[in-house]
Subunit: 458 residues, 2 copies
């Protein structure tokens, strides 16, 4: 189309396909200048529908390249209030200011209000394009008013009833309006038990309430109970997906990455990964100190060193399981910090049961499958006693499993309690934390069971 | 209320609060028999609204206790088609059959159709309660018909236009119907580019399309393009949350747990955790074999053993990061299996950059902070050369980091390719996989650099 400069085909393309499809196709094929040329074949309203579906990086590039500031200002006036607040928050402040000077007074005020909300609040998620009505009109008048409001509103399926101070009185669904007699009064139809969220509420909590109560949209009120916006289910789906990604990244030991995996900058991703790897690496260095402390044990009974990776890995794995289950249960609201003792008791039993299972397997493996030659000791000392070794491995595996399970389950609760995201108590974090203690537990049990066979350093 | 047997208060409670709130309050406070007594104060329609919000375990208990089969059959007739299909799928087959015999012919057919869909398909997620119209009627007629259909339908905000064979022709929103002239013909208003999913499509894919295109509802068609149901955004939010939980559990090395953390049965959770822990434990046993293979190195240069936990932990941590990023990018559709080479190249560079960072830190730590006494060797052999040791640690840490990153990124892609859920290539799984190779890499580098200082076994 672009080669033939077929403006009609471009227009048809922009206006008949879903805006998300148009944006995706243009992103994959064209430069910013070509995209603007393509978009100019259609109306500014259609452009405003398509624009928010471009990837964020491309949106920023499009704003600063290939088209005039007046055009961008018009586009911003036509975009839905939550989409444009999102965009303007990401632009460099001087660019935003320059653009806002060209935007309508009313739109400018609306934008200023929305971009002041912190990113993770209901206020930042909401749109101000909601349908509203006074309480004392008939259904017929209500439908007439909605016909006037509708073209600009993101959803008119719920209509909010407010008083003169914009305080929320009730809600009526479009469906109920249509089913009702045309002469009925709106206040008689409205549901007065309205679920709402505050503009300062955390967006994760909003998502949880959506999931629980099956809403299409939910009103947002400010501290004075005045209606300031609505949150729609499509935005909530985005939040749930973004939060799941952030949680997964934290659990994998990465600072959450918002950007598309294949498109994000190398330096950014390097930073987000290196910071955790270096931290974990430095913390893990204490395993060296712990190992050095038990140097005598390894020199007296050399086979002990061979079991170290096996024994300490148990702590990491059992801890990772427990921390994942608790972190997810916290995210879903199934467990709160005040349930810590129930969780502790549960994990104490579970850790003991899992530890017993693994301990038995570990003991059996040690007893039946340890090759004779590794039991030799240096300096003419007698061979290592296989029964004692079996006891050491069985007990150490059980104890480390129990310990890993308890640490893995309690760390996320502790973090939540002191205001750190519980996802930070991720698998790698817990594994590192437990490795050092695992070494201490293992060698302490060995010293206890082998007794004088473990001599002092030469 | 129950103590005073205040039926009116119970009725008001059931009818004014949100069904989810009613269900939650009753679940926390009462026995199944008391819940039925409480519910009997309100109409069967209200009971059907409240019932699906009870936890699944309680729903099953309620069906088999305290009330007659006729009552349950009535309740099932009133429940929305997706909720009741969910319930009946979980009941023991004889109970389901017994109940279905008492249910209306039409409802029975509808249920039979829905429960045959496998759990993860669009068909199992959809409801058959959608609003539909023929194409050749006026808006006025359309609104009249909707008034008749609406009370039973889960959503009437989108109305689907079908031909005589129920093939999907288009969609019109309630909002457009209200905005249009009353004499306009529906077929002139409808959008004919309809996004739909097939009843056999995977529900994760459905959730992705919802997220991408911002729908409230989406039609579902069968292999002959006949409309068979719709999927609404509230069900999609549930899917996204459930899938995020399942993914998180897999990443933490647990078979996904659907049940509430504090309420699930101990034996079930034990099984779901033990199976992975035992598998990982048995796999990790090869670290013993690897360590035994390098017994001579540890006996000749005893300080080498002390660095083992530190060196191999790098593989687990870097692998866990890479597998998390790739698994999540796969789930979001940002990466597909065919992108494997781009991902490989990306992770090759990233692994090298991260490895260089950690290698430098590791080398510095070894050179400056290794206490002199651990460098002693048994049998009068000379002390270990600190420069050589520094080189070994620096190189091993870099190499293991690169190796862990590559394995962690490629395993999820390989698993997806051969039809295993990529989340199975979780942190613990990758860590176990990489531990053995980490030992081999570490000691091979040590042998290379120390050369003849590492003698054969005595």
């Amino acid at each position: 189309m672009l080669e033939k400069n077929d403006r009609l085909a471009m227009e048809t393309f922009c206006e008949t396909l879903h805006p998300a499809t148009v944006a995706e196709t243009l992103t994959d094929s064209f430069s910013p200048e070509e995209i603007w040329y393509f978009l100019s074949s259609t109306s500014i309203e259609h452009q405003a529908d398509i624009f928010p579906y471009f990837p964020v990086e491309l949106q920023l590039e499009l704003v600063t390249s290939g088209t005039g500031r007046e055009h961008i200002a018009k586009l911003i006036e036509e975009m839905s209030s939550d989409d444009r607040a999102d965009l303007l928050q990401r632009l460099p402040p001087p660019v935003t200011e320059n653009l806002l000077r060209l935007v309508d007074e009313a739109d400018r005020k609306d934008i200023a209000k929305l971009i002041q909300y912190p990113k993770n609040t209901a206020g930042a998620l909401m749109t101000t394009d909601y349908a509203w009505l006074p309480a004392n009109i008939t259904v017929d008048e209500a439908l007439d008013r909605l016909r006037l409001q509708a073209p600009d509103k993101e959803t008119i399926y719920y209509v909010y009833i407010v008083d003169e101070q914009r305080r929320l009185l009730g809600v009526v669904s479009l469906r109920d309006l249509i089913l009702a007699s045309r002469r009925a009064i709106v206040s008689d139809l409205m549901e007065t038990h309205v679920f709402y969220v505050r503009d300062t509420d955390d967006r994760e909590q909003v998502a949880r309430e959506f999931g629980e109560f099956d809403f299409i949209a939910m009103p947002v009120v400010d501290a004075d109970n005045r209606l300031v916006g609505i949150i729609t289910s499509d935005d909530v789906i985005d939040v749930v997906v973004e939060e799941a990604t952030a949680d997964a990244h934290r659990m994998g030991g990465v600072t959450p990455v918002d950007e598309n995996y294949l498109e994000a900058s190398f330096a950014l991703i390097w930073r987000k990964r290196a910071v955790w790897l270096v931290l974990l690496f430095v913390a893990e260095m204490s395993t060296f100190t712990a190992m050095a402390h038990f140097d005598d044990a390894m020199k007296s009974i050399t086979v002990l060193a061979l079991f170290v990776p096996l024994c300490i890995s148990i702590g990491g794995n059992s801890g990772s399981q427990a921390s994942t289950l608790i972190t997810r249960a916290l995210a879903l609201g199934q467990v709160t910090v005040s349930d810590w003792f129930r969780a502790f008791r549960h994990e104490l039993l579970m850790g003991a049961a899992l530890g017993a299972t693994l301990g038995l397997i570990g003991a059996a493996r040690t007893y039946f499958m340890t090759p004779g030659h590794v039991l030799n000791n240096p300096g003419g000392a007698p061979d290592t006693d296989i029964t004692k070794l079996t006891m050491v491995i069985g007990l150490a595996v059980s104890a480390i499993c129990l310990y890993g399970t308890l640490i893995g389950s309690m760390l996320p609760l502790l973090f939540r309690r002191i205001g750190i995201d519980p996802g930070v108590a991720s698998g790698p974090f817990v594994a590192t934390f437990v490795d050092v203690t695992g070494i201490v537990i293992y060698f302490s049990i060995a010293k206890l069971i082998f007794g004088p066979a473990i001599g002092p350093l030469e």
